[in-house]
């Protein structure tokens, strides 16, 4: 069917709202509480349109497309009412927003400017509560909250529910649920759904800048697989643009001394995890084995399901493996005192901050990773230096960052398992796979199941994302041998530290970019990585435990 928006005709699907049609056709209608993956809340009242026939003002998020419907988002009345609601909504934004205060790029300020809305015309009462620090990964400033409910809705949808709306009238805002049986897993999906930066990553930009300015430090940048397929969105490039080479150049321009890649760490993780899987299958012990490279999932197990702790792989995660490799194997080779090395991870994730700060990963007293910046913080860092990544030439990773295609696909749900299976196949059968792609465990679906034949053995596997789905799979875990779990929808590529907006549709396109990188690479199996081989060859047996493996323990709320 056809509808008219601002005198232009557009095709609409049955059941679609006018706002959905507008978004699909890149017509700018402001909205703060709408998110295509969440139930419509219709509370911000800014996505207004006027219906031509009746002159009625309605929210386009609730207005269903009907054949012949004519609406306008640009009548004088709509403009007037919309402006008022934006000004009421952002009454407290400017005075409490650290980005606006520092003159940094704030998407809210951009939106306010676009609609000539004042952010200082109205003044709301100051909420007394201070900025909450959540696990060193996330911070929440209730003063900036506009009660859009998206963080609450997404947290509930994903199966946690640590956030709730509280308070009547002007006091209504998101708060942290005090129920002792509910805990945050630091996945950061609230931060990637917050339209105003009230819930955001705990920023480590200043610490990174300090390290970069310290001549005594060797500062290493390493990025997670997913960052290369999403940072472009922050600079207006099409979703799914691979900027691997441009990012390396950007790291160098920012002053990083060495440019490595978390993908190399992923190759280490793959080998350790594949070995452990084979061993557990051989001994028929602690099966199914669950992946553990998602710290939010690990926190979920440690808080909600400590009874399955023994089922988690004891392999550390890629950023931790890589960081420890730099501070031991690489430092020794280069004759550098590891105390002078600062490792900065660029991750699509907030829980990686929590992971990096964990005491248990320290090797000889040093944290493998010193700081973690999200994709969004990376964009801020670049903007501060006026670096537009889309204009940069491509360059190569430094040799110690060499990685396989299997490392790249870690970013997509199913990728960790696919990578591990490529290597496990080789180790179990002594042969190489003819076809590397495991199509049945790829894709955006929250639960994927497959039976995979490796030699004589058939492995029953499952790949899940979000804790809602993890709960379901835990109930039937005895049916499986190996289960990959990621907290964020679609895996890290849809992570809580990714650019705003992140939707399932966007996540799908980003994931495609990762699989495309893998498909074009010559080296597509972790165990073929010569750098990783060299690392293992030089790893003393006595160091294996402290560098490669980890343990888990029951956790209390906010621990």
């Amino acid at each position: 069917m056809k509808i008219w928006i601002n005198n232009k005709e557009y095709e609409a699907e049955p059941g679609e709202s006018v706002l959905e049609v507008a978004i699909r056709n890149k017509i700018n209608i402001p909205h703060f509480c709408y998110h295509e993956d969440l139930p419509v809340g219709a509370s911000c009242r800014t996505c207004l349109v006027e219906i031509k026939d009746t002159g009625k003002i309605v929210t386009s998020c609730t207005l269903k497309a009907e054949n012949g419907l004519k609406v306008s988002s640009e009548t004088e009345k709509v403009k007037r009412l919309r402006l008022k609601n934006i000004e009421l909504l952002l009454a407290n934004h400017y005075k409490n927003c650290p980005k606006c205060q520092q003159g940094l790029f704030c998407p809210v300020a951009k939106e306010a400017k676009e609609y000539s809305a004042s952010m200082t015309k109205y003044d709301n009462p100051e909420k007394k509560s201070e900025v909450h620090n959540i696990g060193g990964a996330i911070e929440f400033d209730p003063r900036l909250c506009i009660a859009c409910n998206k963080c609450v809705a997404v947290c509930k949808k994903l199966g946690i529910g640590i956030l709730e709306m509280k308070g009547k009238n002007i006091d209504n805002h998101a708060t942290i649920n005090q129920d002792r049986n509910i805990d945050c897993i630091y996945c950061g999906q609230c931060t990637v759904h917050c339209p105003v930066g009230a819930i955001r990553e705990k920023s480590e930009i200043e610490s990174v800048e300090r390290a970069l300015n310290d001549d005594n430090k060797i500062v290493i940048a390493q990025m997670a697989p997913s960052v290369r397929a999403s940072i472009g969105e922050e600079f207006g490039l099409p979703v799914g643009t691979d900027l691997t080479g441009q990012i390396y150049t950007a790291f160098r321009k920012l002053g990083f001394d060495k440019v490595f890649d978390v993908n190399m760490g992923a190759d280490i993780t793959t080998i350790i995890e594949a070995e452990e899987l084979i061993e557990r299958i051989h001994n028929n012990k602690n099966l199914p084995m669950f992946t553990s490279c998602c710290p939010a999932w690990v926190k979920f197990v440690e808080f909600y399901h400590p009874e399955i702790i023994d089922n988690l792989t004891t392999a550390r995660s890629p950023q931790i493996h890589a960081g420890a490799a730099y501070k031991t194997w690489w430092a020794k080779k280069e004759g550098i005192d590891p105390k002078n090395i600062v490792v900065v991870s660029f991750m699509p994730c907030t829980s990686k901050k929590y992971e990096a700060h964990s005491e248990k990963f320290k090797v000889d007293g040093l944290s493998p990773v010193d700081y973690v910046l999200t994709t969004r913080e990376f964009a801020t860092l670049l903007r501060k230096q006026s670096i537009n990544i889309s204009n940069l030439e491509s360059s190569e990773v430094d040799t110690p960052g060499t990685f396989s295609g299997a490392g790249v696909i870690f970013g997509a749900s199913g990728g960790v398992m696919e990578s591990a299976l490529r290597t496990a196949y080789n180790k179990m059968t002594g042969k190489d796979l003819n076809k590397l792609e495991f199509e049945e465990i790829r894709g955006i679906e929250g639960i994927k199941k497959a039976s995979i034949k490796i030699g004589e053995k058939t492995l029953n596997v499952a790949v899940v994302s979000t804790m809602k789905n993890a709960k379901k799979i835990i109930k039937e875990m005895n049916k499986y041998d190996y289960i990959e779990v990621m907290a964020c929808p679609g895996g890290c590529i849809g992570g809580g530290g990714q650019p705003i907006p992140t939707t399932l549709r966007i996540t799908k396109k980003r994931a495609k970019a990762l699989y495309s990188i893998d498909s074009k690479m010559k080296m597509r199996k972790a165990h073929e990585n010569p750098i990783v081989k060299d690392f293992f060859d030089n790893l003393p047996d006595s160091d294996r435990e402290k560098i490669l493996y980890t343990t888990y323990s029951r956790k209390n709320k906010f621990e």
């Binding site: 419509v40 219709a42 509370s43 911000c44 009242r45 800014t46 207004l48 003002i57 929210t59 609730t62 009345k77 007037r80 009412l81 008022k84 609601n85 009421l88 909504l89 009454a91 109205y122 709301n124 009462p125 506009i146 009660a147 709306m165 308070g167 009547k168 009238n169 002007i170 006091d171 209504n172």
Partner: protein, 328 residues
Amino acid sequence: MNIIEKIERAGLVGRGGAEYPTAKKWQDVRLAPGDQKYVICNASEGEIGLFKDIFILENYTEQVVRGMILALEYLETKDAFFNINEKYYHQIESKILKIIDKYNQQGYNIQFFIEEPSYIGGEETALLNAIEGKRTEPRLKPPYPSIEGLYGKPTLINNVETFYNVACVDDNTFSATRFFSISGKIKNPGVYQLPDDITIEKLLKETNNLPDFDFFVQIGGSASGLVLNKEQIKEQKMIGAGGLEVYDKTTPPKDVVLRWLKFYQKESCGKCTPCRVGTYQLYNLVKNNSEIPWSEVFEILETLKETSFCALGKSVEVPITSYYKNVL
């Protein structure tokens, strides 16, 4: 004649304020598919200037409950909730519990939901959320409660007075009257049962409340009600939930408006922007200026009227605009 024909013939409309035809509402729920259906009696009465529901509950308890039973029979269900303002509950507890116990022993399942006194409880879908233990805020409509109400099941929600009227209709004692809550600067405040088509002026006269000073009135309720001058009340009949408040015309406009805004900014559920922030800003605009800054006030009022999520936010402009137009 069956009950629905009787209700239709009597022309009953909802007395919570929305005046929706009662027969139609009952039929909507009856026709809605589903094995489980609910009946809710709403005694929230959270608006200032309204107190007829508690009067009816105190004086006609039996009839109100019987109205609910008639609805349960018509809908072939046993499950009902009595949503009651906490203050009211303590006033009628002993009386009503006896009656409800009697019916519950006959196999009905009528439960009380004791509500913290609020204005938003008058909004049907917010009430449903409250009973379900969710945040007390309105739901998106459609779906309407008659199709997807309490716990997603078809639900009939009627006001206390409506159920009372249903019982009278069933007894053939209904006589086209309604209950008026009369308050303000008058001699004989209280609840009066009089013909529903009486003019406001006549209502004041018959209750011996016609002021001998310059005055204006607000009808429907003392927050969302319409403000009229003393000329306009000659023809005007009662609307909404039947409240009538008399104001002294010499009361400073700031005091008059501030009372409404104080109520609205306190009672806003906080869901939508214009009502949550708009009513707060309005209250402060009026409070912090010696004269009411009318143009700024009307800017926000228009936004409330045109863009609020529910009828409560949309109604904020009604008293202020009509006061400005009809009195000032």
